[in-house]
């Protein structure tokens, strides 16, 4: 049974369709990145998953519990801009949350330690920075040790150091609980996600394992840098390579050679032996970034055909 199942989830606001029949299944214990440009419907999806909003059609099942029924699914949730009671301190707030869950020995110190707020636990939340509030938001979501953690743009508004800190905490949670987080920062998702879903204008246009996705979108280009004194032999090698049937074209700039190929697998097998004897400094197949994938998909280019060596 997947940790999260979304079936035909639709949300309309009058004539505007914010979400259009989303289907999604998220495995247990993974970190799932829910990507999309601003206004794609990410927050709406999360509000429907938490039961804060009701769907126009469709349903969400989390750990076997349907959202919106009398049973509460085992979730922890962090909204994109968490707001707290300014007069409380972090420890007091977590004690209050623990009380709501009926926890007898809540791991408050451990959670505060985990999110790096232990030293500020007695400071009033009203005096917290944005990053500290985000950490406290994460702490309250983690405290009841939920099976599924739902996070709405948990690091997007933070500075690089704050973002790294939050992502490190999420990375540590892999295998411990299912983490589902939305973001429009592709680097964050690329760094820690096992699986990725891309939402665009209310439609889920892709769901795939991150590695598979990046391999599938890998550009069929190989780059070779040789030592400067090897320009002439590199040019000779480039001419031999250009004549091969699996090569589309070659481009030589001084001691740098770029080979565009038709068959990645053949290139992976045969290209390097053809350079034998040359003082090669670097040999690399250019990989795809999530940004490439995202931009291609959200610009309507669709998925590339799967190549033999590309997966």
């Amino acid at each position: 049974m997947p940790a999260i199942e979304v079936h035909g989830l639709t949300k309309r606001f009058g004539d505007f369709t914010a979400l259009d029949e989303i289907d999604l299944a998220v495995e247990r214990g993974i970190i799932f990145g829910f990507l999309g440009p601003n206004g794609a419907g990410k927050t709406t999806t999360l509000r429907l998953m938490t039961g804060l909003a009701r769907p126009t059609a469709g349903r969400v099942v989390i750990e076997g519990v349907e959202v919106g029924t009398n049973r509460r699914p085992p979730i922890g949730y962090l909204p994109d801009a968490p707001t707290f009671y300014h007069w409380m301190n972090a420890r007091e707030f977590l004690r209050y949350i623990a009380g709501l869950h009926g926890l007898e020995n809540p791991p408050i110190d451990a959670v505060l330690e985990r999110v790096g707020l232990h030293d500020a636990a007695k400071k009033r939340v009203g005096g917290y920075s944005r990053g500290m509030k985000q950490r406290l938001g994460l702490a309250q979501a983690l405290l009841p040790q939920p099976a599924v953690l739902l996070l709405d743009e948990p690091a997007s508004a933070l500075d690089p150091a704050g973002r790294k800190a939050i992502l490190d905490i999420l990375d540590d949670l892999r295998g411990e609980m299912t983490v589902f987080f939305s973001t429009h920062i592709l680097g964050d998702a690329e760094r820690i996600c096992d699986e990725i879903g891309i939402l665009d204008r209310g439609r889920l246009i892709l769901q795939a394992r991150r590695d598979e996705l990046l391999a599938r979108f890998a550009r069929p280009i190989f780059e070779v840098d040789a030592a400067p004194e090897a320009t002439a032999p590199l040019q000779a090698a480039a001419e031999r390579i250009a004549a091969l049937p699996w090569v589309e074209r070659t481009m030589l700039h001084g001691s740098s050679l770029r080979v565009h190929v038709r068959d990645v697998a053949a290139a992976q097998r045969e290209l390097l032996p053809l350079l034998a004897g040359l003082p090669v400094l670097r040999f690399e197949m250019l990989g795809a970034t999530l940004e490439d994938v995202f931009l291609r998909l959200t610009n309507g280019e669709g998925l590339p055909a799967q190549t033999e060596g590309g997966s």
Binding site: T83, W87, I97, G137
Partner: protein, 252 residues
């Protein structure tokens, strides 16, 4: 019940830490203390206006317990109305940002509303009790002891009137998507209540007049109808608030 108790504790802590308890207690206590004093010195103040003017003679009856009670009811209702509405209309509307976080925890929305109402009821109960005790004490010192039963009944009716305002302001707080919107709706509710008070003896305002007559042992009709209407409005305010909040989508 466990969650209600926890939530009520949170509400009471909030009222204490944000000084709301102090403000309400001090204001109602002050008017409780001052009402008998005002009643006592007002005739002398008015008489002093005529002094030195040979052609003006001001004749006023001696102040009595009735004047002290009248002053107390007048002051407490004026400032009580203001405080009750101001403290209540933002109670839910002003907390919407936190609700997106709180309602994903096991906190039933009906429990949330009930605890809000209970917290405000305790807040004004404490304030009114202090004010009434001070008023009774000074009335005894400056005049004579009012009938205890009648005085207690008057305070009870005054309290119900305040609870009615709190419940309707909470309803406004749930209906309004912003604090300003909630304030506007609460203002409309108060105006309607005041107009109703001028038109019919069934309005909650009639409880004040009934209480005044009970405390001063003056004769007059009982206002059981107004009492029933007031209790109904309290139930509508709290119950309606709870039902509406359960149907509302949070955040976004």
């Amino acid at each position: 019940m466990r969650v209600f108790t926890l939530q009520l504790q949170k509400e009471l802590r909030e009222l204490w830490r944000t000084r709301k308890l102090l403000i309400v207690a001090v204001v109602l206590l002050a008017f409780g203390l001052m009402s008998p004093i005002f009643a006592k010195i007002t005739p002398d103040l008015v008489k002093s206006l005529g002094e030195g003017q040979s052609n003006v003679t001001i004749i006023l009856p001696d102040p009595s317990v009735r004047d002290a009670i009248d002053q107390f009811i007048k002051n407490t209702t004026q400032f009580g109305l203001l405080l009750a509405v101001l403290m209540s209309f933002g109670a839910i509307a002003g907390e919407r940002a936190q609700l997106a976080l709180m309602f994903t925890h096991p906190l039933p929305r009906a429990t949330f509303v009930l605890a809000k109402f209970a917290g405000l009821a305790i807040l004004f109960g404490v304030g009114l009790l202090l004010g009434a005790a001070a008023d009774y004490l000074y009335t005894v010192i400056l005049f004579e002891a009012p009938d205890v039963g009648g005085f207690v009944a008057m305070v009870g009716l005054l309290y119900l009137w305040l609870l009615c305002l709190i419940a309707l302001s909470l309803l406004a707080s749930t209906l309004g998507r912003s604090v300003t919107g909630a304030g506007g709706i609460a203002f409309v509710f108060v105006v309607v209540l005041l107009i109703a008070g001028a038109l019919t003896n069934l309005a909650p305002d009639s409880l004040l007049n009934w209480g005044q007559r009970l405390a001063t042992e003056a004769g007059g009709p009982d206002r059981w109808g107004a009492l029933l209407i007031t209790l109904t409005l309290i139930v509508i305010g709290v119950g309606g608030s709870s039902l509406i909040l359960q149907r509302q989508e949070i955040g976004g």
